[in-house]
Symmetry: C2
Subunit: 262 residues, 2 copies
């Protein structure tokens, strides 16, 4: 082997960054970004308060990054990118420079999103094509119901906490154990059937009696009425996923500084 | 539906954080961490320069975080965690407080690591058990050779860049197109067979002639000698993956502040 492999030298720390109430500055990107994001912003302005501000002007210096939590540069001018990255480093602001991996505090990877389920695939710079292939392989292994199942488990967990509140202790442990057992014994498709009525029933007949019913038994004596409400609740899941990076699905304020004059 | 689902309100920004030459402070963790990490540090001290410093003392205040790039708290005392998080927020240092999601700038998720391939699965706080189930499902879909394949593609890519250097332009585009075609037409198992001799051959017979041979043709006239070197090269891949978060697989310096006296 001509060089040490990455498995011997280390990798990245994969994290889920919370952009809620944060400010992100994107310097450059020019035509591509303005074409992609400005029309998107316009089309959503009736339903979503805009979290994008587009400035078609030159990057003026350190004052620009003062209130930022994250900076991305997408410039053709590598020297300008380097300067901005150095400003960010001094100010302790996480920075990514497109196409200049050495300057980056963080990288992006191939991403899969299905409601609350998010998956990132990183090859640590060993080829974006391979990340895309891995993404395809993983997507093929998922049924497409996982996001909905995780969403319903989240609601079940929240309602269980409401019913039996408190942090830690024997009750906390019992809650955790019971939730694990539900997730371990129920299949993804069973979990997606947990509409609000079924969740109440599961807490009444399962949690309160300290047992986890099998989904077969649980759903076979589930009333016809709740089956109807179940079907209706599925309509809600058809609401298209609107949240994107730019549209504030991540609740961040994005500021674009135009490319042309940079 | 009783509450808006996450798919409508946004998620996280998944990123691959680069810890190289960074400082990470972990406050607390006490017995668990000292048991797990101190012996690990001892056992590796002969081969790896230590990147862990353990202080068995009280967290003294803002000066502690001054040179940190990332802070994690693992304290039973939620108020103390909150104080430390506020210090970090003021100083613009990314912080994670164990068990207090509201205070976190970032979360962790279930992780899969296979050499240069890293996968993170996040359920956005909707249950760690579901993340573990997704991890199992994804692991079952992978053959276990992906990491090695990605590693070999990384070497191929690096040698191609050495042979035909330069950033961007028509040559850059030709390189990218040729690499994509190799990844698209060769299977994972074919890619793992790319030892150093095979890589040179592929560049000579493929890149130089502006073609991508099929792996069947390519390996059928591959000499017996290089098959032997191929087998030997596999021994290198058996070297166990030693790098972990604590051992500097991520090249960060970790500073632990003991739990007991905090």
């Amino acid at each position: 082997m001509s060089k040490p492999t990455l498995s011997q030298t280390g990798g990245s720390l994969l994290i889920a960054w919370q952009l809620k109430d944060k400010n992100v500055l994107i310097v450059g990107g020019g035509e591509l970004l303005s074409k992609a994001y400005i029309p998107a912003q316009k089309s959503s302005s009736t339903s979503t308060p805009s979290r994008i501000t587009y400035y078609d002007r030159r990057f003026s210096g350190p004052a620009e990054i003062h209130k930022m939590d994250m900076v991305l540069t997408a410039l053709d001018d590598a020297n300008r990118s380097r300067e901005i990255c150095e400003m960010c480093r001094k100010a302790r602001i996480a920075v990514n420079a497109a196409d200049i991996p050495d300057l980056c505090d963080f990288y992006f990877g191939a991403q899969i999103r299905d409601g609350p389920l998010q998956i990132m695939i990183s090859t640590n710079g060993n080829g974006p094509r391979m990340a895309a292939l891995m993404k395809k392989k993983i997507q093929a292994a998922l049924s497409g119901s996982e996001g909905e199942a995780i969403d319903r488990v989240g609601v079940l967990r929240a309602q269980l906490k409401e019913r039996s509140p408190g942090v830690g202790g024997p009750l906390g442990r019992r809650r955790m154990k019971w939730m694990s057992e539900v997730c371990n014994t129920w299949e993804i498709d069973d979990l997606t059937k947990l509409d609000d009525a079924a969740i109440t029933k599961l807490l009444d007949e399962g949690w309160e009696k300290n047992t986890v019913p099998s989904p077969q038994n649980f759903f076979s004596n589930h009333s016809r009425a709740s089956k109807i409400s179940l079907q209706l609740s599925h309509v809600g899941d058809l609401i298209p996923f609107i949240g994107t990076f730019a549209l504030g699905g991540l609740c961040a304020t994005l500021l674009f500084l135009g490319h042309r004059h940079v």
